[in-house]
Amino acid sequence: MAITPEEKQRLQKGSRRGIGVVVVVVAVVLILIAAVVLSGVLNPPTTQKITILGAGATFPCPLITKWSSDYSNVSLKYGGKPTQVQVNYNCVGSGAGITQITQKTVDFAGSDAPLKPSERAAAPGLIHVPETIGAVTAAYNVASLSSGLNLTGNVLGEIFLGKITTWNSANISALNPGVTLPSSQITVVHRSDSSGTSFVWTSYLHLENTGWNSSLVGKSINWPVGVGASGNSGVAGKILTTPDSIGYVELAYTVQNSMKVAKIQNPAGNWILPSLASTAAAAASFTNPPTPSGDWGNVSILNTAGATSYPIASLTYLLVYQELNTIGTSMTAQKAQGLVDFLWWAVHDGQSRGAALVYPTLPAGLVTLDEGAIRSITFNGQTLHS
């Protein structure tokens, strides 16, 4: 194919115009960069910035993100200079958080499950700081049920084992006298991804149902029946769109989606609706905590005593090295101070941020425990908070 002179002229003009555009763009970018650099030189920033990295559990993610943005506005003074502490928390999941703190690529981690013995051995010196409490609800979608639903751990176990398959089963009716239950089949919804929520839920079923053996307890298990959905939001959505379904969802998600949740019978024999108050009550009844640096592997606030305690609750933890120089060269005295001050703020002032996001407030006993834990943190042997 040949090109006519007119076309050629047009092509050349086009390319010349193209070069012109590139020159203009480059010039503008250069001017902008120069302006930014110059303004930095002329007005040196008056506040210094400390950046703290965290990673881990997705459950406390909204709360920690809120803390991070609120704390960056708290005016602090380190070494006489105004300081901004910026906390960056990556919601990558508990397992990934533990891996990262073990490899010391983050300054703290979040985990829904306490460290297992093997994990403690791999990262000696990590302490547990419970920062908030979670509750797992039995959420259901049965259109004809308007009066609420009572369930026990044992019956929930039978449903999730596939032994109870219809809503009007005698076992469910016995718990709900005077309630007309439909004869429809129960659709069980569970998590398809690995999750601390599943761990809490299956641990509870194991406690309550003798048929739910220990091979069915874990963050990800081989479910006997049901449909899987990813994430709390996925399970919530699946329940909302599937009639006659039941599944387990974190409290915050059921509140946000106005889902119907079952009352669960606690060890005191009372039927308890999951709420911020009944979850906090479960944590308040928690006794004999281990020392912060001790073995938390068996800590559980499932089925705690207390007349108003919701039985399916769990603590979620921040994991920090007790001696912060363990992290290595990326940790400085100032950063260590920033991290400890942030932790202190989180378990005190930070708690009031929780209610709007449907996180319970830590009871006084746990705050005292956390204070002890935070006071024990050192950098090069120096205590950071007295």
């Binding site: 040949a2 991804d193 999750s195 091979s215 899987g228 990813s230 959505g237």
Partner: protein, 335 residues
């Protein structure tokens, strides 16, 4: 065919210049142009071979990462039906099965519709309708799969549960394939979503194949007194069948590897299903679900599944080439 150049005053004009040259003659310039060619040739060769290198690298790294699982389970991995992270037992069979069934279902539902679209667009549609309709069909291919997944959860799954699955069950319920309690999040729904997703691929590629059939074919058939349907069937479809087969394989490739939309609709149950109304799991949906928090052996098993997926895709492609090359006569079809 070059254009003819005639100046307005009728005088002869110079032939146009070689596009790489800015002046006539100039040996220097030509040399520059040649070395440019050389650079371009070697660059594009490197780029082409880097694809091979990348593939080898991916396969190699997957293989190394899958070693733990290969050593623990051996070939039993492919036949294992249990996926239990608590007891650390992992088997691939339910996921390979789930992938094959959903893809087959997608083809069964998607291919006839795609062919209908392709035939309509190339043979029947009036000119004014052809272009806009083609755009719309191809637009379907541009919808991100997560959007298909959301649509699947909130629109398709309820419709399937309330209307489609019970009516299918009423007619075909005597088959074990359609028994059980239809819940909407199942293999059938995933198959339908996949069918919708592969329709744009199959229909636009087969449309190209049909358009490549020379008009002389159609004219010859029509001149012999064939009806429009006979012309399409014997002169056009037969001629283009290799191309159409290639289109179907492309669609199958998409269905086999599709992750997000399937994960969101299939119900994510790690077991072999007998009814299409049961939840299931495919290789890619299992990987998507369990990747983030998998322990060391589970991660290794997931990576081995990734290798299996890659192998299956390779086999499908190789099989397709073989079919196109051997069974159908090469050269007869439109490439």
């Amino acid at each position: 065919m070059g254009k003819r150049y005639i100046a307005e005053d009728g005088s002869p004009i110079e032939p146009p210049m070689h596009p790489f040259r800015t002046s006539r003659g100039g040996a220097q310039r030509r040399l520059v142009a040649t070395s440019g060619d050389l650079i371009f040739q070697s660059l594009s060769t490197i780029v082409a071979f880097s694809v091979l290198g990348l593939l080898a690298l991916i396969a190699g790294i997957l293989f190394v990462a899958a070693e733990e699982s290969v050593q623990t389970f051996g070939f039993g991995f492919l036949g294992g039906t249990v996926w239990d992270p608590v007891s650390q037992v992992f088997g691939a069979a339910p996921f390979i099965y789930g992938m094959l069934v959903t893809s087959a279902l997608a083809l069964v539902l998607g291919v006839p519709i795609s062919l209908g679209i392709a035939i309509f667009l190339s043979e029947l549609a009036p000119g004014w309708l052809r272009t806009p309709l083609t755009y719309v069909v191809e637009l379907l291919a541009a919808v991100p799969s997560v959007v298909y997944g959301l649509w699947g959860i909130f629109v398709l799954a309820p419709v399937m549960r309330v209307y489609i699955e019970p009516s299918v069950q009423a007619i075909l319920g005597f088959l074990p394939l359609f028994r059980g309690n239809p819940i909407g999040s199942d293999v059938f729904t995933a198959g339908v979503i996949l069918a919708v997703m592969i329709i744009p691929t199959i229909s636009s590629v087969s449309r190209e194949a049909l358009l490549a059939v020379p008009d002389t074919q159609r004219e010859a058939a029509l001149s012999l007194g064939a009806t429009r349907w006979e012309t399409t069937r014997f002169a056009v479809l037969r001629y283009a069948r290799a191309g159409i087969f290639g289109a179907v394989v492309l669609g199958l490739g998409r269905a086999v590897g599709e992750t997000m939309a399937v994960t969101m609709t299939i119900g994510n149950r790690n077991a072999i299903f007998t009814s299409l109304f049961d939840p299931g799991q495919t290789i890619s949906s299992l990987i998507a679900n369990n990747w983030l928090e998998a322990g060391s052996l589970e991660l290794s098993a997931l990576i081995e599944l990734g290798l299996v997926l890659m192998l299956v895709s390779l086999l499908i492609n190789a099989f397709a080439r073989l079919m196109v090359g051997r069974v159908l006569h090469v050269g007869e079809g439109a490439e």
